[in-house]
């Protein structure tokens, strides 16, 4: 099961839980599983279907360039962090 | 738009003649009329030094001089520093000491340093910093520029002594 770190402003949907496990082979599949268990999660993260531009997906500590398509392993952990560029 | 004035001057040792409007600055004449784009514009109000050139041996901001004012005068720009036998010692020192990064302030910095060394062949660090205070640099933090000027001064003094003995 993949461990997903729930951003604080979304914990109203997960009963206050900061970490949630869900099955899936890609981030998108995990999100689908989360949506089933905690309705509203997908729309929060992906208003209008695409990951919000100010967010980046991190899988096992690595920013995932494929975003939602990024494959995840059995024991992977997923976080959503600010998309950073630079100056 | 007529009302142009004929200007004759010596630029980097070459006699030059050009037409310009009285309102065109020396900086504009050098860059847009004479194609000498080595001199740069950073502010056009005398606050950054990027447009520094020598006019009759004096360091000036070419954005605050009118083209018509140099009639009969002598101008040295960065394009006039290197000689037939290679880079000016200041140019070589700036490379050796990595005294530039983006290089936009470098032409003005080189002319300011030349004006200083023409007057004082062995300036103190304090004097160099005070003299170069009118030339802003945003990349280097200045100290490598100061080192390069000191090093060039040493080389030029040595060459002058060799020349004197020879």
């Amino acid at each position: 099961m993949v461990v997903v770190w729930i951003p604080s402003l979304m914990r109203d949907l997960t009963g206050g839980r900061a970490r949630v496990s869900a099955p899936g082979r890609t981030v998108a599949e995990v999100l689908d599983a989360l949506e089933a268990a905690y309705p509203g999660v997908r729309e929060r993260l992906c208003p209008g279907g695409r990951l919000h531009p100010s967010l980046a997906v991190v899988v096992d500590g690595r920013r995932a360039p494929l975003g939602l398509l990024e494959p995840v392993g059995e024991e992977s952990e997923v976080q959503f962090v600010p998309a950073v560029s630079g100056g | 738009m007529d009302g142009k004035v004929r200007v004759q001057a010596t630029i980097n040792g070459q006699p030059v003649e050009f037409l310009c409007e009285p309102r065109q600055s020396l900086l504009e004449c050098l860059r847009d009329i004479l194609g000498l784009t080595g001199t740069k514009e950073g502010c056009s109000d005398g606050n950054c030094g990027a447009c520094s050139v020598l006019l009759n041996g004096r360091l000036v901001n070419s954005c605050l001089v009118l083209g018509v004012e140099i009639d009969g005068g002598e101008v040295t720009t960065v394009e006039g520093l290197a000689g037939p036998d290679g880079l000016h010692p200041l140019q070589q020192a700036f490379i050796d000491h990595a005294a530039l990064q983006c290089g936009y302030c470098t032409p003005g910095m080189l002319l300011a340093a030349k004006a200083l060394l023409d007057r004082d062949p062995d300036p103190s660090e304090e004097r160099i910093r005070q003299w170069l205070a009118g030339n802003l640099c945003r990349c280097t933090g200045y100290d490598r520029i100061v080192r390069a000027v000191q090093d060039a001064a040493r080389r030029m003094r040595r060459d002058a002594d060799v020349h004197a003995e020879g």
């Binding site: 951003p7 604080s8 402003l9 208003p47 100010s54 096992d60 500590g61 690595r62 920013r63 360039p65 976080q79 959503f80 962090v81 600010p82 950073v84 560029s85 630079g86 100056g87 | 738009m1 409007e21 309102r23 784009t37 740069k40 514009e41 950073g42 502010c43 056009s44 109000d45 606050n47 990027a50 960065v78 394009e79 520093l81 290197a82 880079l87 140019q91 700036f94 490379i95 050796d96 990595a98 530039l100 990064q101 983006c102 290089g103 936009y104 302030c105 080189l110 910093r129 005070q130 205070a133 030339n135 802003l136 640099c137 945003r138 990349c139 280097t140 933090g141 200045y142 100290d143 490598r144």
Partner: protein, 753 residues
């Protein structure tokens, strides 16, 4: 072809014997720069060239009722006048269009409204005065907290606050609210023996590059477009042009000129589309060069901020809880650096319980853009003073207190993301061992302050090609604009891989028609990210050369190897070819060899670069004037490819940090006018204001880069304001809660005026 992406060999700690990396060769392009031959943005000239000037709003907030350009169009010497109406219908993102040429509203003084192309810049300027614009002036809002209030004037009627809690209902100036919560902050603060809370206000600051923006556009008879522009990223400019002009990218060629400083400010495009519109309408090439006042009024400075920080620690010196609220000015359109500010504020520390709230707030000022570690400097200015105060209240040496609490491998940031290997502790230990930390101050009214800052590294995408020439030299092309020596650092990594000396490597920056997509040179990514692409391209060359040797010797390619000196085959030890010798055989063994590297650096678990700075300052207690006497900057750079460049980045970043700390700011009047649109009153530090900065390089290799490289260019600016503030505290006994720390402010904090 090239080695599969994920088999990067990790760098072991003991130093590999390197021949090129670690040396200090002169930089590519340096000779042309000292000769005045380097071509910067405004140096481009073409036959039939016209000159463009932009009409900018005199109001900070107004509705545009009408724009009448007829008189200007008739003015002798004018060839074209454009307004927002000239932007192709519905092309590109609305905010981008509006900030290129204002639609129905102007949102800051300097907002572009129209532009004119004429025979000379003077004629264009005169004709600007003939454009009649009717405004309905609206009240501006300039202070970030005022803008957040419900009754504040609204910049965008359609803007709703977005957050992960969902979309807000009513319109607001707050474009986004982000929040991170780690552990249980309430519980953490309950455990704390000492709690410090302070609020800080920092002024908007401009990057201060000496070269104003300049762009030259030329349309070709076949309807394609070439643009020469001084930018940190030619490809993002191409995307911007393609989007707003509704033109396929293959019909656009963006040629990056030399760049006279950018520091993040030239990662955005301001006059490229305007030049293109004017050139198309006039049927002649057009060059638009910004004046310094336009640069200061209308290009993206870094946000002004309001930051509240509260931290708690136990008597044993452990920080147990931290809380921060960051309100950042986005300027006229959403998109400040509050995200990276929130990501960086507690980045140096291992804090079990933390909450960070960030607000991206539009105000009637120019749209902000990046400035060297965007968002980090104000955040670290705030947190490093609170950390300093905690250490003092607990009676612990400030460096030891930071060592006790610094992040380590595996530490989770407030966002939950775990750290890979980063030299936080190594930097602190190196600083502690440095003579400066314990040297006597040597006089009255002097103080020493330290500050700890971090900048994560963005990797981004890069392309690089390397062609082998018949004489054994190689020609390298990359899309990364050469910001301050990065091109040399990239070429050095290729030379190392190829076993060549740097002077055998010709390296050039390619335009967008000559290389694959390469992200902007920013985010401390270029030497790292494009270096990876250069390494991949070099390994691709070696693979192809091994195949040619195999063909020459009639042996299986697996038996051929290259030890960066000679190609050999295990089949017959007498067969040996140097790179140069094999290169001479290429045409006879199958034709030219070209290696290719295209990389997405983000695939790698990247660590960033921490820095600990030590600042000695002297204060004139009667006038409040501050002089920086001595400055030491210790930083983990992973591996210094070109130590001279890394030291140059540290010296330059500290110099900008000193300007930010003591002298600089974009100061606005109540009516939204910029009060200091010149370099006289927007005071960049001069050669008399910056001491000799001593860089101390610490090398804790980043495991994901073959040579351990980290991004190093941005961290140097981050701790400076905090270090100077902590030094001033030791003299005045007062914490500095505002930037810039002008003489007047210091006197006020001391209660003298």
């Amino acid at each position: 072809m090239s080695t599969p992406r994920d088999e990067r060999k990790p760098v072991t700690d003991e130093p590999v014997s390197l021949r090129v990396i670690g040396t200090r060769p002169p930089l590519y392009g340096a000779v042309d720069k000292v000769l005045g031959r380097a071509v910067f943005g405004a140096d481009v000239s073409l036959p039939e060239l016209l000159h463009g000037k932009v009409l900018r709003s005199p109001h900070a907030h107004a509705r545009i009722l009408s724009v009448d350009t007829r008189r200007a169009e008739g003015y002798p010497g004018v060839h074209a006048v454009v307004t927002a109406r000239d932007l192709p219908e519905g092309a590109g993102e609305q905010f981008e269009r509006d900030n290129t040429l204002a639609g129905d509203k102007v949102l800051y003084v300097g907002h572009p409204i129209a532009a004119i192309a004429a025979e000379s810049p003077h004629i264009a300027e005169e004709a600007l005065a003939l454009i009649d614009v009717q405004y309905e002036v609206l009240p501006p809002v300039l202070d970030v907290r005022r803008a957040m209030q419900a009754d504040a004037p609204l910049l965008h009627e359609t803007l709703r606050t977005w957050s992960l809690a969902g979309q807000a209902a009513s319109p607001s100036n707050v474009a986004e609210h982000l929040q991170h919560v780690k552990g249980d902050p309430e519980q953490g603060f309950a455990e704390a023996d000492v709690i410090v809370e302070r609020s800080f206000t920092t002024t908007m600051v401009h990057q201060g590059y000496i070269e104003p923006h300049a762009s030259t556009a030329l349309w070709h008879p076949d309807g394609s477009l070439t643009v020469w522009t001084c930018t940190q990223g030619a490809f993002p400019v191409r995307e911007h042009l393609s989007s707003l002009l509704d033109l396929p990218m293959a019909r656009i060629r963006v040629v990056p000129t030399e760049i006279g400083g950018g520091f993040g400010g030239k990662a955005s495009s301001y006059v490229d589309v305007v030049a293109a519109l004017l050139a198309r309408k006039a049927g002649r090439p057009v060059k638009v060069v910004m004046g310094r006042d336009e640069v200061l009024k209308a290009t993206g400075p870094t946000p002004g901020t309001f930051i509240r920080v509260r931290m708690g620690a136990r008597r044993d010196g452990r920080i147990v809880a931290a809380e921060a609220e960051l309100c950042y000015e986005a300027g006229a359109y959403p998109g400040s650096s509050v995200g990276s500010g929130a990501d960086t504020i507690f980045a140096c520390y291992d804090i079990p319980n933390a909450r960070v709230d960030g607000y991206d707030v539009v105000v009637n000022k120019p749209k902000t853009s990046s400035y060297r570690a965007p968002g980090a400097t104000p955040a670290v200015f705030a947190v490093e003073q609170v950390v300093d105060e905690l250490a003092e209240r607990l009676g612990i040496d400030p460096l030891d207190f930071r060592l006790l609490n610094c992040a380590r491998e595996g530490t989770r940031r407030v966002s939950g993301q775990p750290y890979p290997r980063v030299g936080f502790a190594e930097v602190l230990q190196a600083a502690k061992a440095h003579p400066h930390y314990s040297a006597p101050l040597g006089g009255p009214n002097r103080g020493r302050g330290i500050a700890f800052g971090y900048w994560g590294n963005w990797a981004g995408q890069s392309c690089c090609t390397i062609s082998v020439n018949a004489d054994g030299t190689v020609s390298l092309l990359t899309g990364s604009v050469d910001v301050s020596g990065a091109l040399t650092g990239i070429a050095m990594q290729a030379a190392e891989e190829l076993g060549l000396e740097l002077r055998q490597v010709q390296a050039r920056v390619a335009d967008t028609a000559s290389i694959g997509y390469t992200d902007v040179s920013a985010g401390s990514r270029t030497t790292f990210g494009t270096g990876l692409a250069a390494i991949e391209a070099a390994r691709d060359v070696i693979a192809q050369m091994r195949a040619r040797a195999a063909r020459l010797w009639g042996v299986p390619v697996e038996t051929v190897s290259y030890d960066r000196v000679v190609f050999t085959t295990s089949v017959d030890p007498t067969k040996r070819l140097s790179f140069r010798e094999l290169a001479a055989q290429l045409s006879a063994t199958g034709g030219p060899v070209m290696g290719r590297g295209n990389v997405d650096g983000d695939v790698l678990r990247r660590g960033g670069a921490p820095g600990l700075h030590i600042a000695d300052v002297e204060l004139d207690p009667e006038t409040g004037k501050v002089t920086v006497l001595r400055y030491t900057a210790v930083q983990d750079v992973g591996r210094a490819v070109h130590p001279g460049n890394v030291e140059g980045q540290i010296k330059g970043g500290v110099a900008q940090g000193i300007g930010w700390a003591l002298y600089e700011g974009c100061f606005y009047g109540e009516d939204g006018q910029l009060l200091n649109p010149t370099l006289l009153d927007n005071k960049l530090p001069t050669a008399m204001d910056i001491p000799v900065v001593e860089p101390v390089i610490v090398e804790v290799p980043d495991p994901v880069h073959p040579y351990g490289v980290r991004g190093a260019g941005e961290t140097p600016i981050v701790p400076v304001a905090g270090a100077i503030a902590n030094a001033l505290y030791r003299i005045t006994g007062r914490r500095m809660e505002r930037l810039p720390m002008t003489p007047a402010y210091v006197l006020e904090r001391m209660g003298v005026i």
